[in-house]
């Protein structure tokens, strides 16, 4: 959006590499906290990355304390985000159902409910009657147990991304798309800027918010990030009148689905993926999604697939994000490794901005520190819908 109409400055206080939802949310909150000149540069086009390709589903409750603490705050922020940004983000608080089919998964739901309670996430176990009322299209006899999160919901990316980029620009943040960083420069062992579109841009702090490209961008600074780019696929069925009100996550099938306000049924089942840098979609993800729909939502079996598409995430060994200062290179900050990054952004941008201003990683973000694998402290989260090959 409006790339290249004003030249980039030569100096900034913070350069954010990546104009997806993480980079924009962070920049918005940095600006609110008084950081002066902020420049966001992105090699691609507006909403071209995962922020414009994800399933748009948002929830506060997971299985682990670390994830739930972060996403509980994010969910609260989503509810109020239109007021915060002064723009309509179109967050639709329509509820979210976590669905277990296997007894073992259902057994974990007690613990999940306790976790949710500890973090003030509204959630409850759903009776069979409740389930039929909340999601009449669901094959209820296949469901062993379900948790309902009434504050969860969906948010169309085009609206929230537009709101963030407009809010950033209104606050004086420079946001440039089609501007590729080719080098992260250092001096005296610290970061001191980037080379973007062939020109140096000096900045005492640089943030990597590059989605699936984060490991590659880190190499430009001569450092590494754990993990690799991974394709995630999504599909949309042709629109029909309202069929699904809440979003659904089939934990045992690694599949999620919701219906947009336009009536399209959007979702995807994960197939085992390998590290790769492609956004070409593939047939197995389509047929796997169809198979889950046919069994769990039998009424949609006569509807047609409008389209399927893919996006890249940065997959880490525990699928958890990598947030905070880079442990090796001072003044290089990172918000990467996101798989649920669209949902988290409403909190992670704010918390990382606070951390950068104070110089100390916020307690909610500390479990996701970049060096956690070296410390042998991965975050175990059983309530996410992801698979790797």
């Amino acid at each position: 959006m409006r790339s290249g109409d004003t030249p980039l400055p030569e100096h900034a206080d913070v350069v954010v590499i990546g104009g997806g939802i993480q980079g924009l949310a962070l920049s918005y909150h940095l600006s609110k906290r008084g950081v002066g000149r902020i420049v966001v540069v992105d090699a691609g086009y507006f909403q071209g990355g995962a922020s414009g390709r994800n399933g748009t589903m948002i929830r506060g409750g997971f299985m682990s304390d670390a994830w739930t603490a972060l996403f509980a705050l994010a969910n609260r922020r989503w509810i109020d985000l239109s007021r915060e940004l002064g723009q309509n983000v179109m967050y639709s608080r329509r509820g979210y159902l976590l669905i277990a089919e296997h007894a073992a998964t259902a057994a974990g739901f007690d613990e999940a409910l306790a976790t949710h309670a500890r973090h003030d996430v509204a959630s409850r176990r759903v009776t069979r009657r409740d389930l039929v009322r909340l999601a009449p299209a669901l094959a209820a006899d296949r469901v062993a147990d379900a948790i309902y999160l009434p504050d969860g919901g969906v948010c169309p990316h085009h609206a929230v991304m537009h709101a963030y980029v407009e809010s950033c620009r209104a606050r004086g943040v420079d946001v440039a798309y089609g501007a590729a960083v080719t080098e992260i420069t250092r001096s005296a062992g610290r970061v001191d800027g980037v080379i973007v579109a062939g020109r140096p841009l000096r900045a005492p702090r640089v943030v990597i918010a590059a989605g699936g490209f984060a490991p590659e961008v880190a190499k430009l600074a001569g450092v590494t990030l754990p993990g690799y780019p991974m394709r995630i696929e999504c599909t949309a069925l042709e629109p029909t009148r309202a069929l699904l009100r809440p979003g659904l996550a089939f934990i045992d099938r690694l599949c999620y689905v919701s219906q947009t306000a336009r009536g399209e049924i959007v979702g995807g089942a994960e197939v085992p993926e390998r590290p790769q840098r492609t956004i070409a979609s593939d047939l197995p993800a389509l047929t796997a999604t169809a198979k889950v729909y046919r069994e769990m939502l039998p009424r949609v079996s006569g509807l047609r697939f409008l389209r399927q598409w893919a996006g890249l995430i940065h997959s880490t060994p525990d699928f958890g994000p990598l947030v905070g200062p880079h442990p090796v290179l001072p003044d290089l900050w990172v918000t990467a490794g996101w798989s649920y990054g669209f949902a988290s952004s409403a909190a992670s941008g704010e918390l990382l901005a606070a951390s950068m201003v104070s110089g100390t990683l916020h307690p909610i973000l500390q479990p996701f520190a970049i060096d956690r694998f070296e410390r042998n402290a991965p975050v175990r989260e059983g309530g996410i819908v992801l698979a790797s090959g």
């Binding site: 909403q47 309202a242 009536g263 389509l286 006569g302 399927q308 890249l312």
Partner: protein, 466 residues
Amino acid sequence: MTAFPGDTIAVALWRHGVRVLGFTRKRHRPLGAGTLVLQGALVTVDGLPNVHADHTPVVEGMDVRRQGAWPHARFDLLRTIRWLPQRWTRSGFERPYVLRSGTWRFEAWERLLMALAGGAPPPNAPVEAAPGSRWDGDVVVIGAGPAGIAAANAAVAAGDRVCLVSRSPAPAAFAGSLGACAPPIDARVHTLLGHVATGIYRNGTVVLAAPRAPDAAAAVLVCKRLILATGKESLGPSVRGHDLPGVFDARTALRWAATLGSTLGPCVVSGTGSEGAVAEALRRLGVVVVEAVPVDAVREILGRDGVTGVRFAGHRVECRSFVHAGPWTTHGALAFQALAGGTLRLDPTHGNAAVTVVGGALAPNEAPSVPELEALRDVPVCSCMDVMADDLLRLTADGQTHVEEIKRATACGMGPCQGFPCWTRMGAVLAAAIGAPVNDTPSYRPPARGLTVAQAAALDGLLELE
């Protein structure tokens, strides 16, 4: 209602004077089944929504319902939306400024949108599809026109295992309707007629093809080489009324005229050189052709619920249908997918597709005929999602010119047609607005409404993970 053997639903309804089958999403403008715009052809048949009225034969006792009307097709209150000021519906759906989320008003608005979304209730009963099939060979040819048949025959003669896929149930149907001959298909060619090649994967080595019936077996075709012989489609003039019921592309018009004869007309034919031949073919089938004119002569197609006339620079004529034979342009989806077009934006070194284009598809696309900016404003660009040229011009005036951004901001091309022909027209409007050619479209994504969930599920496991 009565129908003749071989009538499709749309043809039978036309015989009874029913031209309006669907509506646009926001303005509730009427649409018909004669062109590439899919929304105008979708009806609910025996409780199954979005059945293509022009690809489905009439069956005794069939229950056919118009979609998008509320509360009833005969008493449609949504028609009143047409009288609202256009600015109310301009951005109101994609991103309302007034109704912000976090308020009860937004929740109520969103519920209303969902209640009216999609035009029809979802099916009540599940659909089971026949098990899918897999074919492994050397060459897949898409398109059974004269060029596709020749390419398939040549490949099979050279010893290749060849599969020929065509959406038409008969080979060389369009060429035949214009009096041209095609060679017979070599018996060694594996033919899938009546199958829509609906998605290309893995750099052109995997083709997804499915018959139009929602429960018929789909096919995965695995090959080493892909030949696209998909020909060209007529885009028609980009003027007011170009998506009215009663507007036909030449291919559909000739097919309909073969059964309807004189009841298709009287009509006006426009084109980019082939209008004379199309008019002649229509006349031979008994259709009254009032005028055959170059496409640029057409200023407006007139009518409220269907074509009633055409306005030219100096005069207007009355007619009941309008047939366009050009500008001719290739549907870009299959080539785009074969070349992994979306990934090319990400990584220009990606892609090494073994794809050959032959026949009409190889010819350069004719530029869409677009009027001056002032006359362009209320020309529909995407009929299904109701995106007008004015919506695009507002974005370009705001500095947004990237086709992918514009797609996301307006939903242009996100309806049942999945981008064709609207993205071609969108490119022409953007080019007119910014004064430079736009040689880019948003990403064409498979499977472009080509198969049902049941058909796709019946393919699961046939193609191993890469």
